[in-house]
Amino acid sequence: MAGPAWETRRGRQGVTDGPNNAALIEIEHLTKRFGHLIAVDDVSFSVARGEVLGFLGPNGAGKSTTMRMLAGFMPPTSGTARICGHDVGTDGIAARRMLGFLPEGAPTYPDMTVESFLRFVAKVRGYRRAELDERMDKAVALTHLDLVLAQPIETLSKGFKRRVGLAQALLHDPPVLVLDEPTDGLDPNQKREVRALISDMRRHKAIVISTHILEEVDAVCTRAIIIAAGRVVADETPTELQARHPSGKLEDVFHQLTLDQFAREQQKEAA
């Protein structure tokens, strides 16, 4: 059998390095209703190691709701989500250990200093003493927070706050990263830095980012999903997506796809 040969190869690469095409994020028929409103409607996709999935869509399309369900925060009405094979509903703790999550708006505790906040997250993640310091140093270096460590988070600028949120998500070097608008509120230089950071980490992780900035898709994403009115209307590489419109501009494709869906919803409503 081919099993042992594969095992040895895998062994040499290290235990955490699974087969490269394994899906670390699997979402199946995820649906979320709020009363009559269907916020997320039968969404299915998977993300493998090495992929950066751009999650696009107009405001209120269901991006954040999908990410919240994926992070195990919001229970879905139906369907399942798995992170590294762990169901976020039934095996939530194991799933969340594998996940770094930046919630919408990068919420952090305003009274805490950057250092005490990151220490808190590191402790909850189970790190102690030397290892905790090491994790902190790494995350702080990656997000360039060293100069503001002692400052209360509420005194920081929007860009720094976002980076604190990012540092918190990267702290445990998780195989899965789910980032809800990671570059929102950053200046162009900081945006570039965060994008470079995401590209650097890509090889070892499965990453989902949501964004309004279409150029970001070109810059960092290997794949893009466009979601409109809770449904996936496109799931392909940025190049394929661009080819959908004669102009070759993502903006036009986005406009066309999301408005089409909107019109269909309206028709359904009228019928």
Binding site: K32, F34, T65, R68, A71, G72, F73, M74, P75, G92, I93, A94, R96, R97, L99, F101, P103, E104, G105, P107, T108, Y109, P110, D111, M112, S116, F120, V121, K123, V124, R125, G126, P152, G165, Q168
Partner: protein, 243 residues
């Protein structure tokens, strides 16, 4: 267990990071002192005990405990940090108990700072320190009971003022259930409720402690009271997550 304590330590640190802690402790001590010495006629009674002190403490807690608990969940919801907290590898139960323990530890600190009362009676007379100790246990338990109500109600809203008023109102009901005004009214109009009210009367239970009686029944009462509200707290958090 460990995670629960990490959550509790962060929360407790949160009280001291803001003026909340000092304002609360100062007001608590001033109120307790003023009520005990003036209304309670501490010196004029000519008795070396802390009965005046303990008879006011449930009412001071009633007023101040909702101020400690109001922010616990309401603020997490308003800031959106609840999403961050609950997407960390911790269970809802750990978060609920951790926050409650932080608030309880804070009340315990405030209680410890009333030690000058104990010293005063010991200098002036020869009090039964066993009774004083059991009174303190009772005070801690009644604080815990009110805190558990406040924690659960804080999770129902994003607004701290609403959380405060709700907690105050509900704690007031439980406190008043000990008084004949309420129980008489209930037994005349809704007799079944009167029996329940008498059983849930937290101040009656507390008074056993101030007489030096620490009974298993009272301990079980407070444990189940707190347990029930913390369970309710978990349910409410679960519901708010669902949107």
């Amino acid at each position: 267990m460990r995670t629960t304590f990490i959550v509790a330590r962060r929360e407790l640190g949160g009280y001291f990071a803001t003026p909340v802690a000092s304002v609360f402790i100062v007001i608590f001590l001033v109120l307790q002192g003023a009520l005990t010495f003036n209304l309670g006629n501490f010196f004029g009674r000519g008795l070396a005990d802390l009965n005046p002190f303990f008879s006011f403490i449930p009412w001071v807690f009633l007023l101040l405990v909702p101020a400690i608990t109001m922010r616990l969940w309401a603020e997490e919801r308003r800031l959106g940090t609840i999403e961050l907290l609950l997407s960390l590898p911790i269970t809802q139960g750990q978060a609920v108990v951790g926050k409650f323990l932080a608030a309880w530890a804070f009340c315990a600190i405030a209680l410890v700072l009333t030690f000058p009362f104990v010293i005063t009676v010991n200098i002036l007379g020869n009090p039964d320190n066993g009774v004083i100790a059991s009174g303190y246990v009772g005070a801690l338990l009644i604080a815990g009971a009110f805190l558990s109500v406040g924690c659960a109600l804080s999770a129902t809203t994003k607004n701290q003022v609403i959380a405060f008023v709700l907690a105050l109102a509900v704690c007031f009901l439980f406190a008043m259930a000990s008084y004949s005004v309420v129980t008489d009214f209930l037994s005349q109009n809704i007799p079944t409720l009167a029996a329940i009210a008498r059983r849930l009367a937290v101040i009656d239970r507390f008074q056993d402690f101030t007489r030096g009686v620490v009974s298993a029944r009272d301990l079980v009462f407070f444990a189940s009271f707190i347990g029930f509200w913390l369970f309710l707290n978990t349910v409410i958090v679960e519901r708010t997550k669902a949107g």
